[in-house]
């Protein structure tokens, strides 16, 4: 079912007009209310008034993650704090998070956008929706919750409860739709097997998975093991959270909610638009956000436009499933981190050299494991006190948990053992052998 037919099936002319109007208004508002944009447009000599077509958007400067980090916490807000009714932030990286504020209207649009995705996946007011995203600073739980309520589904805010509890809820509460990360869905599939529960004993029919990259292989695996249809959806906290784009039941790419966002795809190296159908970096401009509008935000996610019309009847443009990153961001346990975040922690721990490697794999029970191998410094190695080493390892593990919010194994290794310059092979900072 199409949740908002008059919007989701607009003609291209109508979409273009709505986008142009809302883009111009957003530019006028950020110029008036956000010092960063006023300075940026003024110094580049571009302004709201010079944007006469959607193509002109390409003349405006990009907004990057670094810009957002240096605006911490509230400098990018376009309304006073008293107009903000909700705050979320990006998942904990070693630096500062990006804080995102929502006005009443922003929350309402967000609910609309996630309701559209749920509806596109075939979810109706008859469904029992189990939301296994964190209900916290991250946007997953609350973002989908509002949309599922707007549809009138029976919503279970299961949050990040342990897998066995999730399975109990799923079976006993007769869950028909699961919303989570794909890796958590795989973990739940494993838990079912462990408990010898046949998926047909459940009522589950659909899954909406997102918040991290996942392959067609993993999709097939989840569909087979849980006996469901699994659909992909994409969003990012800086832009809104879940609700930016999602697959319809056709599984032919993700429809972008184009009346709320303008998406461009650019060459990550040059910033120029890629030619039709080519893969590049997704760049988003919000056109209805009041609290935290962003102009040409570089997502770091790689995808391509899919240009043929979709049989579902929705006219919003589609993007391919995200095929990679422009950087070395690691998705782990529902959160995100950069190797540089780990490095920063190691530099602050005495007795270690900043030489490290990250290994990721899937355990037989389906859970993901991250191991950080750290070279100890020559100095400590010379002392060779086992107890000291133990305490160094514990400190690192605790710091990673506190700062990055992930539990990782830590393995201390001999000095110089990670550098493989000798055999000429390029050093691999991250080795990811997880099922994806």
């Amino acid at each position: 079912m199409i949740f908002n037919k008059s919007k989701e099936t607009m003609s291209r002319d109508e979409i273009t007009q709505v986008q142009l109007e809302r883009l111009q208004m957003t530019l006028n508002r950020v110029y008036r209310n956000v010092a960063f944009y006023k300075t940026s447009f003024d110094t580049q000599g571009v302004g709201a008034e010079s944007i006469r077509t959607l193509e002109d958007l390409g003349r405006l400067p990009f907004t990057t993650r670094e810009h957002l980090l240096s605006a911490y916490p509230y400098d990018m807000f376009a309304v006073p704090l008293r107009d903000i009714v909700r705050l979320h932030s990006t998942s904990g990286t070693a630096g500062k998070p990006v804080v995102v504020g929502y006005t009443k209207n922003d929350l309402s649009h967000w609910a609309e956008c996630t309701a559209r995705l749920l509806s596109a996946a075939g979810i109706t007011d008859q469904d029992v929706v189990q939301i296994a995203f964190h209900y916290d600073l991250c946007t997953g739980g609350f973002g989908f919750h509002q949309g599922a309520e707007r549809i009138g589904a029976s919503v279970i805010p299961a949050s990040a409860t342990a897998p066995d509890k999730q399975i109990m809820v799923m079976r006993d509460y007769k869950t028909t739709a699961l919303l989570s990360t794909p890796s958590f869905a795989a973990r739940l599939a494993q838990e079912l097997e462990t408990q010898h529960i046949h998926p047909e004993k459940l009522f589950l029919k659909k899954g909406l998975f997102g918040a991290e990259p996942w392959s067609e292989n993993l999709r097939r695996e989840i569909e087979e093991r849980l006996h469901i249809t699994a659909l992909d959806n994409y969003g990012l906290t800086e832009i809104m959270g879940p609700g930016v784009a999602g697959e319809c039941e056709e599984k032919r790419g993700l429809h972008v909610n184009e009346d709320h966002f303008i998406v461009e795809i650019v060459d990550p190296a040059t910033g120029a638009a890629v030619s039709a159908g080519e893969t590049g970096e997704l760049v988003f401009t919000t056109i209805t956000k009041e609290g935290f509008p962003l102009i040409r935000y570089r997502s770091g996610d790689m995808a391509a436009f899919l240009c043929d019309p979709c049989p579902c009847g929705r006219t919003f443009c589609r993007i391919s499933r995200v095929s990679g990153r422009t950087d070395d961001l690691i998705f782990f346990g529902g959160t995100k981190l950069f190797p540089a975040d780990v490095e920063k922690i190691l530099l602050a721990v005495e007795g270690t050299a900043p030489h490290f490697a990250i290994d990721l794999w899937s355990d037989p029970d389906g859970s993901e494991v991250m191991e950080v191998k750290v070279e100890i410094s020559e100095k400590v190695f010379a002392i060779d006190k086992l107890r000291d080493l133990e305490s160094v390892r514990d400190v690192i593990r605790r710091r990673i948990e506190q700062v990055l919010g992930v539990s990782a194994k830590v393995l201390l290794v001999e000095p110089k053992s990670l550098r493989t310059d000798a055999d000429g092979a390029k050093f691999r900072r991250v080795t990811d052998r997880r099922r994806k």
């Binding site: 109007e21 208004m25 006028n28 508002r29 709201a48 008034e49 944007i51 006073p80 006005t103």
Partner: protein
């Protein structure tokens, strides 16, 4: 119905509107609110062709009318009820109304004017009573009805109204806005400019906020009512008490 893109318009060398874009869908009531001097009247006059824009496009019913002169736009169904009513004081009510039928007559439909007059009298019975009175002797509310009636005689598809509530008592304003709803039911699309934001939003489907010649906000009635800037600037602080 109406699509406006990048309208830059003003007087002499002074641009009042700076790249304004908006649209009105078929059967929609769209309101433009904004402070004094923001460019609301200039916008309506540019859409009707009374002010020639420096730049930009105006599309009406799928046709580019940017270069079409004002009189012809009326003939196409794009009609303005001007700010301050502009009723002819020394003409009778009936003569005022018949002036509005100029294009209908020119198109050889003179015989239908009687019927159109009847429609206006049905909409505003007071005008029938005042049929032979001079326009100048009418009250403010009656003059506003006459101005709307005169515009309707041109058989508009899009009716634009500039500050119809200006200087009117609240009950009179209420009846004018009721008329707006009736007209929409009869199939008209309406673009309304108002200082009385609360009143205007009460009948609108959607609205725009214009400030210093630039659009800054657009949304459904609910969205605009929920926006804190709109509440502060246009609805007054006791807004919630009044929003019955």
């Amino acid at each position: 119905m109406l699509v406006v893109r990048n309208l830059r318009s003003g007087y002499g060398s002074i641009a009042v509107l700076k790249a304004v874009s908006l649209h009105v869908g078929r059967g929609e009531i769209v309101v433009i609110i904004g402070p004094n001097g923001a460019g609301k009247s200039t916008l309506l006059m540019s859409v009707t062709g009374l002010v020639a824009p420096f730049e930009g496009e105006v599309e009406f019913e799928g046709r580019d009318i940017t270069a079409v002169p004002a009189e012809k736009r009326v003939g196409l169904g794009c009609v303005l009820v001007p700010e301050g009513r502009r009723v002819f004081a020394t003409l009778s009510v009936r003569e005022n109304l018949e002036l509005g039928a100029y294009h209908v007559r020119r198109n050889g439909l003179g015989r239908e004017v009687r019927h159109d007059l009847e429609r206006i009298f049905a909409l505003f019975p007071i005008l029938r009573k005042r049929e032979r009175q001079m326009g100048g002797t009418l009250s403010g509310g009656e003059q506003q009805m006459l101005a709307i009636g005169r515009a309707l005689m041109a058989r508009p598809a899009l009716l634009m109204m500039d500050e119809p509530s200006m200087g009117l008592a609240p009950v009179v304003t209420a009846s004018i806005f009721k008329t707006v709803l009736t007209l929409r039911e009869q199939g008209l699309s309406i673009l309304l400019v108002e200082q009385n934001a609360r009143r205007a939003l009460s009948v609108a489907d959607r609205g725009y906020v214009i400030e210093t010649g630039q659009m800054v906000l657009e949304g459904t009635r609910e969205e605009l009512l929920n926006n804190n800037d709109v509440q502060r600037a246009y609805l007054g602080k006791d807004y919630s008490a009044i929003n019955e």
